[in-house]
Symmetry: C2
Subunit: 362 residues, 2 copies
Amino acid sequence: MQAAVMRANHAPLEIEDVRIDAPGPGEVLVRTAASGICHSDLHVVEGGLPMPPPCILGHEPAGVVEEVGAGVSGFAPGDPVIGCISAWCGECEVCLRGKPHLCGGASLQRPEGSASRLSKDGAPVLQFANLSSFAEKMLTHERSLVKIRPDMPLDRAALIGCGVTTGIGAALNTARVAPGSTCAVIACGGVGLSALQGCRIAGASRIVAVDNQAWKLDLARKLGATDTVDSNDGDAVAQVMELTGGGVDYAFECLGSQPTVQQAVGMLKRAGTAVLVGIVPVGQMVELHAADITFQEKRVIGSLMGSNRFRLDMPRYVDFYLDGRLKLDEMISARIGLDGVNDAFDALRKGEAARQVIVFDS
Amino acid sequence: MQAAVMRANHAPLEIEDVRIDAPGPGEVLVRTAASGICHSDLHVVEGGLPMPPPCILGHEPAGVVEEVGAGVSGFAPGDPVIGCISAWCGECEVCLRGKPHLCGGASLQRPEGSASRLSKDGAPVLQFANLSSFAEKMLTHERSLVKIRPDMPLDRAALIGCGVTTGIGAALNTARVAPGSTCAVIACGGVGLSALQGCRIAGASRIVAVDNQAWKLDLARKLGATDTVDSNDGDAVAQVMELTGGGVDYAFECLGSQPTVQQAVGMLKRAGTAVLVGIVPVGQMVELHAADITFQEKRVIGSLMGSNRFRLDMPRYVDFYLDGRLKLDEMISARIGLDGVNDAFDALRKGEAARQVIVFDS
């Protein structure tokens, strides 16, 4: 199969023919229909997320089941699916407490040292995030797949695999935004725009989008922001405090940086909740004003992958798209072929794109 | 009336005759029966909490109503009461959302510039925390008082005015500790020992007390700790992780320092909650590992005054004492007269006392 292989950091991906194994027990082979391109893919290329080459990136896919391994009962060839970057075991404490996204499904993975699923001329090529969707096919555990309605377009379904679920789930699952709330969303990329839509779907009355790029704020308004704050116009916290008359109930930090985490906590009203969605680089510390958290009973809570309950949430988000509540078409900046992936990374580096989607010929 | 007056920072309090006004509209004059001595009082003496002298400290009292002002309908002379450091208006957003402890009741206070309630030879003496309980009488708004059962001993009731409510409420109200949980309490002073009891009353299965003083850990065991960690024996987080096999559901930080806040967040299991109860000095920043909060969906939440709903919670805690669930006798290190207050501060400075209580002659 054709795949875009990362042979070295800081170098363009190379389109190569790669061998993919047949599905083993519990595994499913999926023909990739579409894959979003996410900042995390770019982070790997640029060395910010450690992943040794050669590997195949891509972790926001939808596709169609081609073949199932022994013991797989929930999927059959032809099923449309979304691929997830983690799996869940269904047996551990977090799974049993309704937080399967925190499981990771390590107990389902092949033992370390076993043969790679992917190879080139006999040499292993590593799989990224359990998926490697910058390739015509994916081999993954059935617990990393969610079957969806057949009337869902797969290029838009792909977005639900990572960015949309991360954002909308932060609002609906992690924070459980209440109708009538006042919300702020800091950084309006794919995740932030989805968090914003989650706030709208939950019935928030005020949704303040914060960014430093005018076109993202325009897009945020189309997707449901009631107000926008351009952080080029001065202190974002002061602007939000003035707009809202004293702060927000929920602030979603969707960038992953020290200053924006501080902004999120700073723009809360008493008893407000800051939801940390963006991933601040591992090991980097964020300074918070602890007495402010105590005196005002602020809450700072982490949200990973939208506290996603896989087979419950992703079909729900598909329904939201098909009934018109979740807007995905507007979030897609471009549809490209696999060979356009390096140009797409360039657009991402320049901050020119919301979501670019690789579409494979079917 | 007799009162212990702070005439200057860093100096002993002076026992003086002070004039107290008659109650105005909405106000109640209370004969002080007992007042706990809290670290916050000492902080004022030492300049850590800004409060200009001359003033009368003390903010953890119980007493008996002596006289009520115009419009006061809920109290009558002879009623036993606990005094609270804040009041609530009952009309603002936080009050209406069940968080009256975040209100402060500023709208109930006399306008700035109006005559002081307390004076000495015609010169005003400031009131601390709406109470000034290091004095034979207190004049306060009725919304700062809670009427209690007449069979409650007032020296023990006094503790419920601040430290006990702050600790037990952090477990019961703010965190809502679930039965069977694993908890850690960092710093076992009056507040920490009360948080620990809150965890026990809520049905926690493991309660790990963390401190660096052996006698406090012994007392913690008597009050319900199932395990103790002496932070002199090495990294407290590593010790708690080993004891609990991977972290706690709830960690209560009851000291108010940067290292212990970091410890509280560090000793959580996935999806665990760190409750910031201690007041880190205002303006001092605490460095937290943001990616750890996101990846593990940890929660860092502030707890002020035990998220106390005044007339709901304090009578409940009195019931807990009288039915044997809340242990207060063990927490009282000494009962002293008003003139013993300076010696009591010395004991507090040396870390030799849990709670010392001033008892007034009745």
